[in-house]
């Protein structure tokens, strides 16, 4: 029997019975051991001190209140330095912790405090004392004042009813779902380089200089802008104070430790924390500590979607690295160790969602502070350097999920770079994810970016990108449920889950549609109506947020905010580019549904509407023949023009709507397909669909095919993706694309060549994003149990082809036992 092929990471984990392991006795192992067993707990400090301060600043401008509140947090939050740490700073207690942001969704806190420890999805430990603090000190103050409540109150009735349950606005309907109430801002990327290179004394001086230049006779200057610059000064003092407290603590610990080596480390930490981020960093170590303080302080400032991404680390850290390595002051091992200390710090932070909708959207504790590597530089030359390679190598060696590594690729990416990327993909669990300069840079240019900023984009969250000194739109955007749009078409503006209530418009009873075109038109009318409501909802969110959120730290690091004296959350900032989006969820599910009806009801006439509608009403119970018929119709993801043309039409309706209507909002609102895991909760509200999908099950994700429907392999998936873009418009944003591969496809030098060929093709096809999922034993076991979802798994042996699910159980077992390498997606 051949040995089961596992990725090197899987091997390491298997060898240690699931325990992640670093080199034995190493610093990182000890740090890891210090928290790995602990359960995630709620840390109330940020919410508590933030609220305490807010109680005392009523009536002042929001940005000033925010800066003062953060100063109060910086003064009081516990300062903890653990053994072995080289980078210091944390924004919660010991172990794994999550923070709460009552200004956002404090209206859910009373019940959250009681249920946090016992909720099914992502539970958090919470002490009785903290429950008391939440219920008595924090939640009562925010009652009626939260963003969530304001938004719910502000939505007109017709928008409200496809957003929340109008009777209970704490319950989402998952039709056109806003996401601004579950995070304070869109995923963001700071100009970390500015913080590291200049330091906050310099930022403070810049603010003071701006203050002195304001026109005392213009109240816009002397009041609004003055308050903004004062807030920048306060926030600079806050982060300096907080770092100084770490310096003091390190000094105290150094004085008390008996371990001489640790004493020296602590003295060095104390020196560095007194210096950065106050002053410019002058060494690689200082730059890393400065970045870490800024990153952490951002978490205190606000809850962003997937927090603050790390930007192009191989670019802004490179000068420090180069200087120190050339001077012989640091080694590559030390550089890696510092990175690993940062990733371990990130791993202890847990993304905590308070609202039920937030939890459903983001199951688990994961957060995506993307680290971007590679791509082109501001001049268009290849930007890869030694640090790029170190970060890739580090990803292979470091067995935790952090950081979320993103590699930029362009047509001129070197073979050497792609070899390293491919090796990392096969060693790790499919990371790094890839982003395509050939699609992204031209789109940013077309939307008004200057060429240097466009080339210098950084990945933000899972697939989005930011230009840290040019992007100015921070309102989280809506997710639009295409599966619901299909059901609204089938049920004449209603959904089974919500009874007889007319949710949208009546477009007729499908049984009366004489032609496929009538059905398609009804769908498009529903799509346009929900789009209209989504844009109205977005407009209200854009308008409401500046009253509830400010970001003095984020603004201090943003050139346009500093120039204009405006907070980052202002509705418009002169000179900025506002890049928002709306997310279509379930593209493949509905394209396949339309195709199945077209083929079976109108062309082949193998089914009639009555049969289809009865089958759907019964969730296909007793209608398996109907379901199979629908399921075996042309499906998106197979490079089949029959259905790809339909998907392209759905896309075109979206981008054309955006082109014509975003102007009323004054921002770019572009179509993207990045459901992440939201295709699951959105699927829960949608009844059976005409592509054979059963009620309540997941919709298709991102721009991927329906589960198991892509039976022609990954090249067809990429081509369908390419075929369904309406490239004559620029009103598109990211598309998330997952491709399954087996460990052996990707093993060895030969495997690398194949991954690289796939990457180069993807790059030439100008698709936005690509991530590989490595198939493992678990996937195959699932496929055995649930063959329908895994129809696309091919068994590949020389000169032979068949689908895994078609094999008899004993042959499947043989494949599972023997080799995974005979499979590819």
């Amino acid at each position: 029997m051949a040995e089961k092929i596992l990725s090197p990471q899987e091997k390491r984990i298997e060898a240690n019975k699931g325990q992640v392991i670093f080199s034995k006795g190493s610093r990182v192992q000890r740090i890891y051991d210090s928290f790995q067993g602990s359960r995630s707990s709620v840390d109330v400090q940020r919410a508590r001190y933030f609220t305490e301060s807010f109680k005392t600043t009523e009536g002042q401008s929001l940005v000033l209140r925010w800066a003062k509140a953060l100063y109060h947090v910086a003064e009081n939050i516990e300062v903890i330095i653990n053994d072995d740490e080289l980078l210091v700073g944390r924004v919660g207690g010991q172990g794994k912790y999550g923070l709460i942001y009552p200004e956002l969704d404090g209206c859910f806190l009373q019940s959250f405090a009681e249920q946090a420890a016992n909720r099914v999805e992502s539970p958090f430990e919470i002490s009785d004392e903290d429950i008391r603090i939440i219920q008595k000190e924090i939640a009562p103050y925010w009652d009626g004042k939260t963003y969530y409540e304001d938004l719910a109150r502000s939505l007109p009735e017709d928008v409200l009813k496809i957003t929340y349950d109008p009777v209970d606005t704490f319950t989402s309907r998952f039709i056109a779902n806003e996401t601004s109430s579950m995070r304070s801002a869109l995923q963001w990327v700071h100009d970390f380089g500015k913080g590291i290179d200049e330091g906050f004394e310099s930022i403070k001086a810049e603010a003071q200089e701006k203050l002195s230049q304001l026109n005392p006779l213009d109240p816009h200057d002397s009041i609004d802008k003055a308050e903004f610059y004062e807030a920048v000064i306060i926030i600079s003092d806050a982060i300096i104070l907080w770092a100084q407290r770490y310096s003091d603590e390190a000094r105290r610990l150094a004085d008390s430790t008996k371990d001489e080596k640790r004493r020296q480390e602590l003295l060095e930490i104390s020196r560095i924390a007194a210096k950065v981020p106050r002053y410019p960093a002058e060494s690689f170590y200082e730059a890393m500590q400065s970045q870490w303080f800024i990153q952490l302080f951002s978490r205190l400032e606000q809850k962003t979607g997937a927090t603050i991404s790390n930007g192009r680390m191989d670019q802004y850290l490179y000068p420090y690295y180069k200087k120190d390595i050339e001077a012989g002051k640091i080694t590559k091992d030390f550089v890696k160790e510092l990175f690993q200390c940062m990733w371990l710090g990130m791993a202890q932070y847990q993304d905590l969602y308070v609202s039920p909708a937030g939890v459903k959207f983001n199951e688990g504790y994961a957060h995506w502070e993307a680290v971007t590597v590679g791509g082109v530089d501001k001049n268009g030359n290849d930007a890869v350097n030694d640090l790029t390679y170190i970060l890739l190598e580090n990803k292979r060696e470091f067995p935790l999920n952090y950081p979320d590594l993103a590699a930029r690729v362009h047509v001129g990416s070197s073979q050497e770079y792609l070899e390293e990327v491919a090796t990392t993909i096969s060693d790790g669990a499919g990371f790094p994810k890839l982003l395509n300069d050939e699609e992204i840079i031209p789109l940013l240019l077309a939307k008004g970016a200057d060429i240097a900023s466009a080339r210098d984009y950084a990945v933000s969250g899972c697939t989005e990108v930011r230009m840290p000194n040019l992007d100015t739109f921070t309102t989280p955007c809506a997710f639009l449920n295409l599966g619901a749009v299909m059901e609204l078409t089938l049920r004449n503006g209603r959904m089974a889950k919500y009874g007889d209530e007319l949710l949208t418009i009546e477009t007729g009873n499908p049984a009366d549609f004489a032609s496929y075109e009538d059905f398609e038109r009804a769908f498009i009318d529903q799509e346009k109506f929900v789009l209209k409501q989504t844009f109205r909802q977005q407009y209200i969110a854009n308008r409401t947020r500046p009253k509830h959120f400010a970001s003095p730290l984020g603004s201090a690091l943003h050139a346009l905010c500093m120039e204009n004296g405006l907070d980052l959350h202002s509705e418009h900032i002169p000179g900025g580019i506002d890049l928002g989006y709306f997310d279509f969820i379930g593209l493949a599910s509905v394209a396949d549904s339309l195709a199945a009806i077209k083929k079976n009801v109108y062309e082949d006439k193998t089914l009639n509407w009555q049969q289809v509608l009865s089958a759907i009403d019964a969730d296909y119970e007793g209608y398996e023949d109907v379901r199979q018929r629908l399921l075996h119709s042309p499906a998106y993801g197979n490079n089949d023009p029959y259905v790809d043309e339909i998907a392209k039409l759905i896309d075109r309706v979206g981008v054309e709507f955006a082109k014509e209507n975003a102007k009323y909002l004054g921002v770019n609102i572009d179509l993207r397909y990045v459901s992440q895991s939201a295709n699951v909760p959105f699927g829960k509200v949608v009844g059976a669909l005409p592509n054979g999908r059963r009620a309540g099950t997941a919709l298709s994700d991102g721009s991927s095919a329906s589960q198991g429907a892509d039976i022609n392999g990954p090249t067809a998936v990429l081509l369908s993706n390419f075929n369904t873009k309406n490239t004559e418009y620029i009103n598109r944003a990211s598309r998330l694309l997952n491709v399954k591969l087996s460990p052996s496809t990707v093993a060895g030098r030969d495997g690398n060549a194949k991954i690289i060929a796939l990457i180069r093709a993807w790059c030439k096809l100008k698709l936005w994003h690509l991530q590989f999922n490595i198939i493992n034993r678990e996937t195959l076991l699932k496929a055995q149990k649930n063959p329908e979802q895994y129809r696309s798994l091919l068994v590949r042996v020389a000169g032979y082809s068949a689908y895994f699910v078609e094999l008899s159980p004993d042959l499947q077992e043989d494949i599972i036992q023997r080799t995974e390498h005979e499979l590819s997606a």
Partner: protein, 305 residues
């Protein structure tokens, strides 16, 4: 324009030549190897196939295709005429309309060369610097005009070419096809011609002499000789050594390797789908024995994989 019959087309193939490839499985083969894993590619005419796993037993085929004598008995769909006589089986379209699950299906479809070229051109971005088209089967040499026209046209479109073949044909046919091939994969199953005929239906002199000439006369083509190691046929050191000795004189030509493939039973469900007996029964080949034979092979021949 040339046309031919194809069993299926598979994209993103990783085991049939270098890089990412599109494999076109020809339909029809002069051999009847008892271990064949692709029995659906053996006959030159379209056939009906039936997959038990996805069948609903709904009987729709029996009703809608009554002309073709389809039956559903003992939870098994069967049909009378397996001769390939014109009109003896329903058309693709008729089957699609009758069967909701595609459990009943037609194997084999005629393609024009131009249709295949359109399909290949779509896949070109994935071929990159190494991949391309692989002809497989079935036996591509058994449809020589179709294969040649396809290869020529693919080459003309900048697509690299590979073939998986028995090398069983008149020399001029083999020579002509090989002249359009970059990467040539061919079987040598067993050197004893009597044994060869017993297990595959045909003797081996012709293909061996063709392979010898190919190795000598096409120095620029990459060759991969494949030996499927089959229990009871060649799973002994003598049989393997005999093949190694045949290859030995070409050891230094470069661009030549010898690959041993382990017997597998993955073709079994396909025999069931065609209502044919699987001729190998339940035999197995242990991994240990296979490894042992592989090391025997490497004693005789340098470049064994």
């Amino acid at each position: 324009m040339e046309e031919g019959i194809v069993t299926n087309i598979q994209h993103f193939s990783l085991e049939d030549g270098p890089g990412i490839r599109t494999v076109i499985f020809f339909k029809g083969c002069p051999f009847r190897c008892k271990w064949c894993a692709n029995p659906e590619t053996q006959k030159f005419h379209p056939e009906l196939g039936w997959s038990r796993g996805s069948c609903l037993q709904c009987g729709s085929c029996v009703k809608k295709l009554y002309k073709y004598n389809i039956s559903l008995k003992n939870e098994e769909v069967n049909w009378g005429d397996k001769t390939g006589r014109a009109g003896s089986i329903p058309s693709q379209e008729e089957v699609d309309l009758a069967c909701p699950t595609k459990s009943l299906h037609i194997i084999g479809k005629k393609y024009k060369v131009s249709e295949l070229i359109d399909i290949l051109i779509e896949q070109k971005p994935f071929f990159d610097e190494t991949g391309g088209l692989t002809l497989s089967g079935g036996e591509p040499l058994a449809q020589p005009n179709f294969a040649e026209a396809l290869l020529k046209k693919a080459k003309g479109n900048g697509i690299r070419t590979a073939i998986e073949t028995t090398s069983y044909a008149q020399w001029d046919v083999v020579e002509n096809i090989a002249s359009h091939i970059d990467y040539y994969m061919t079987d040598i199953k067993v050197m004893d011609s009597g044994l060869h005929e017993k297990w595959t239906g045909l003797p081996n002199q012709k293909l061996l002499s063709n392979i010898e000439r190919l190795l000598g006369e096409f120095p620029k083509v990459h060759f991969r000789i494949r030996t499927p190691v089959i229990p009871g046929v060649n799973d002994n050191p003598e049989a393997i050594i005999a093949i190694g000795k045949f290859l030995k004189p070409f050891e230094n030509r470069g661009e030549l390797e010898w690959e041993l493939l382990k017997y597998h039973r993955l073709g079994v469900p396909k025999y069931e789908a065609l209502h044919r007996e699987y001729p190998m029964g339940l035999v197995e080949l242990s991994q240990d024995k296979f490894n042992e034979l592989k090391s025997v092979a490497s004693f005789v021949f340098e470049n064994v994989i």
